[in-house]
């Protein structure tokens, strides 16, 4: 009995505490939907085992009804001559970085949306068309989007792409972490097809543990850096690599969430509409005083005459 009531008490205090912290951090978080879920999913990409077969590219296009050549055409490795970026026709691409003298194989790096924990695109979107979902995915809502492309300006990884050639109803395209597939309990298409187990799907928490385990088990194989653990406040996709990430053309980013400064300023200017209303009242007062002054001056002039 006593124990139970005590537990209840603890529970409520915990709830109240959570509520208070929830309230106080609300202004910092990007939208009410974005109270991050403890068990949000992620993918750990071990670039050291990727062979650049690009089957993930094919699987992604197939899963998203994008036009694609047959799978066997993906064996053509000449595409690696140029660095490629995801766009509206390919939501993920694999790039290749030449092997260094001491290495046997070139390095391949798969690129797609990082699914940030504090996404700049979600904060920026004028109509709230982009949202961070409970399972970690950052997805885009076609019914809201007005095509302003502010998400593209905001994204630190330069990921969202726009259908520039479409005159009617162009879309913002980016990796959606296979939101429709994972909802049905399936794996993301790229994770499912990967023959080398480069991609590990799991809760972000467990993936971070696993990544550090790998690093400590094979310190010669990996640099001691899990890209995405802290970058811009953390991302759902995490990377392991055998050399500095800057050499693999990952943007060098700080640990502060991308929308942090902008949201702080925004909420500072609009703190419960107090500053605008105060300014309005101030200007109104100044206007009234000046008008009175002008009127009394006029009266004096009349008296003088």
């Amino acid at each position: 009995m006593v124990d139970e009531s005590r537990r209840k008490f603890l529970k409520t205090t915990a709830l109240v505490g959570a509520g208070i912290t929830g309230l106080s951090t609300k202004t910092v978080k990007a939208g009410p939907k974005n109270i991050l879920d403890e068990n949000r999913m992620g993918v750990l990409v071990d670039t050291t085992v990727c062979i650049g077969c690009r089957k993930c590219e094919w699987a992604c296009k197939t899963a998203h009804d994008l036009p694609t050549q047959p799978l066997d055409t993906y064996e053509d490795r000449s595409v690696f001559e140029k660095m490629r970026r995801p766009d509206d026709k390919a939501l993920t691409v694999v790039n290749e970085y030449a092997a260094r003298e001491t290495e046997q194989f070139p390095l391949n790096v798969k690129v797609q949306c990082m699914h940030c924990d504090r996404p700049a695109c979600v904060s920026a979107c004028i109509v709230g068309a982009i949202s961070k979902e409970e399972n970690g995915s950052v997805i885009w809502d076609t019914d809201k989007c007005i095509g302003c492309r502010y998400c593209m300006v905001a994204c630190p990884f330069q990921i969202p792409a726009f259908e520039f050639e479409k005159a009617w109803h162009p879309e913002i395209r980016k990796c959606d972490f296979c939101f429709e597939r994972t909802k049905e309990g399936k794996l993301p298409a790229c994770v499912e097809i990967c023959p080398m187990e480069v991609l590990t799907y799991g809760t972000r928490k467990s993936l971070i543990e696993r990544a550090h385990q790998k690093i400590s088990l094979y310190p010669d194989r990996y640099v001691n850096h899990v890209y995405g653990q802290y970058e811009v406040g953390g991302t759902s996709w995490l990377y392991l690599a055998s050399r500095d990430f800057a050499e693999l053309q990952f943007p060098k980013l700080g640990t502060n969430p991308a929308p942090g400064v902008s949201e702080a300023i925004q909420h500072g200017i609009f703190a419960y509409f107090v500053p605008p209303i105060a300014l309005y009242a101030l200007l109104g007062g100044v206007m009234w005083i000046n008008k009175k002054k002008a009127e009394s001056n006029k009266d004096k002039e009349v008296h003088h005459e």
Partner: protein
């Protein structure tokens, strides 16, 4: 001097050779707008996934909003500070702001991939988004500007409603409606005037917040947490120069005597405003130690130096000179430099400073983008001329001495 000044329509021949050239530019611009609507943004512009925003945002929207600041600065001076001698410049400034913001909206409209969803922000809110704030403020401010302009319309038409043909029978009732409207507006105008100033302060600064989220993608010479303050200060310092420059152009174009007295009075207020802007700009550079980037010789550093020296330092010196203060030409040259400086600042902030991590091809505006921007500016000039000829905007000396607002209505 202002005692016998009165705003009247200026009846002139509309088309002069210069106006025909401007009209031609406007037509070409509109053809490119049509092409954008039919073939899409990609067909007309050089925009890409690397550079999602170009001059339609950098010039039409960002610079357009800044250069329409004459509206709220003169409203603050003439109405809120209640300096009556400035009342004769509030109308041209109001017209510029009204047309300016109309074309800001037009610029946003064609730049939006889904322009037919432009109303979405009204019902789909995202309070975290600086763009949402800018969008809402501009929408409301545009409405306020139209309302502020209404008294000029009623003044023009009360007692003169003269519809042709069968519409004649409505003349009386429309006149009555205008009189009721005029009376109502006369009593409530102060609400809109204050609202206009508040809304301007809000979105002029939020326009600066807009690029903060771009973070590392924006060159450190411009990327700073005080961007909103810098944008507000620069908007405030470009307001009067806009009015001076425009008043000079109007007086030339319509063969009127330039308002030297008011122009130099306005000019004397520019120097302190520019000084504050400059000190914040330099202070920010010193505190963040971004001057190291000035030793690099590249587009960014050159543009930054031009922006500061030609756009702020030189005009600041000019506005402080007593000779310049007396000369309408000198004042308008100094004013033009300020306008150029703020214009360049917006272009720099939105286009030159934007360096995404992966660049395949650098952005330079296409012919289509340039013509649309030029076409919109041309249309604005054409409409300004038409409005000045139709409505009582520009004040000219009156000999009859009838100053009272209602005197014309009894005629």
């Amino acid at each position: 001097m202002s005692e016998n000044m009165k705003a009247v329509p200026l009846p002139r021949r509309y088309f002069t050779p210069a106006v025909i050239v401007i009209a031609a530019i406007a037509v070409v611009g509109l053809l490119f707008v049509l092409a954008r609507l039919i073939f899409g943004i990609g067909a007309v512009t050089n925009l890409s996934n690397e550079f999602p925003w170009g001059i339609w945002i950098g010039i039409d929207v960002a610079a357009g909003v800044a250069l329409a600041a004459g509206g709220f600065t003169t409203a603050a001076l003439g109405h809120i500070m209640h300096k009556e001698e400035y009342h004769l410049i509030t109308r041209p400034a109001l017209l510029t702001a009204m047309l300016g913001y109309t074309f800001v909206a037009a610029g946003v409209g064609i730049d939006l991939g889904r322009y037919y969803y432009i109303w979405h922000p009204i019902i789909m809110w995202n309070g975290n988004s600086a763009l949402f704030e800018v969008g809402m403020c501009v929408m409301i401010y545009l409405t306020v500007l139209y309302i502020e302009f209404l008294p000029i319309v009623t003044e023009r038409f009360i007692g003169r409603v003269n519809l042709p043909g069968f519409l004649k029978k409505f003349n009386n009732s429309i006149d009555k409606l205008l009189r009721i409207l005029d009376k109502g507006l006369d009593k409530t105008m102060f609400i809109f005037i204050i609202a206009g100033v508040v809304l301007s302060c809000l979105h002029q600064s939020s326009l600066g917040t807009l690029m903060i989220i771009a973070g590392e993608k924006m060159h450190p010479l411009w990327q700073t947490p005080v961007l909103p303050l810098l944008f507000l200060l620069s908007a405030m310092s470009v307001g009067f120069p806009m009015v001076i420059f425009e008043s000079y152009l109007t007086s030339k174009s319509f063969n009127l005597k330039p308002e030297t007295h008011i122009m130099s009075n306005l000019g004397s207020m520019v120097a302190p405003l520019l000084g504050i802007y400059l000190s914040f700009k330099i202070g920010d550079m010193v505190i963040r130690q971004t001057f190291v980037y000035l030793t690099e010789f590249n587009t960014a550093s050159i543009m930054f130096v031009i922006e500061i020296v030609i756009g702020i330092v030189v005009p600041l010196r000019l506005f402080l000179s007593p000779q310049i203060q007396k000369s309408p030409l000198g004042l308008s040259i100094a004013a033009f430099l300020v306008i150029f400086g703020v214009f360049l600042n917006r272009v720099n902030s939105f286009i030159v400073a934007y360096t995404p991590p992966y660049i395949f091809e650098n952005y330079f505006p296409s012919i289509g983008e340039i013509f649309v921007t030029a076409g919109f500016i041309a249309l604005e000039i054409l409409l300004f001329r038409a409005f000045v000829m139709i409505f009582p905007i520009v004040s000219v000396p009156q000999h009859s001495g009838t100053k009272a607002k209602f005197s014309i209505r009894s005629v």
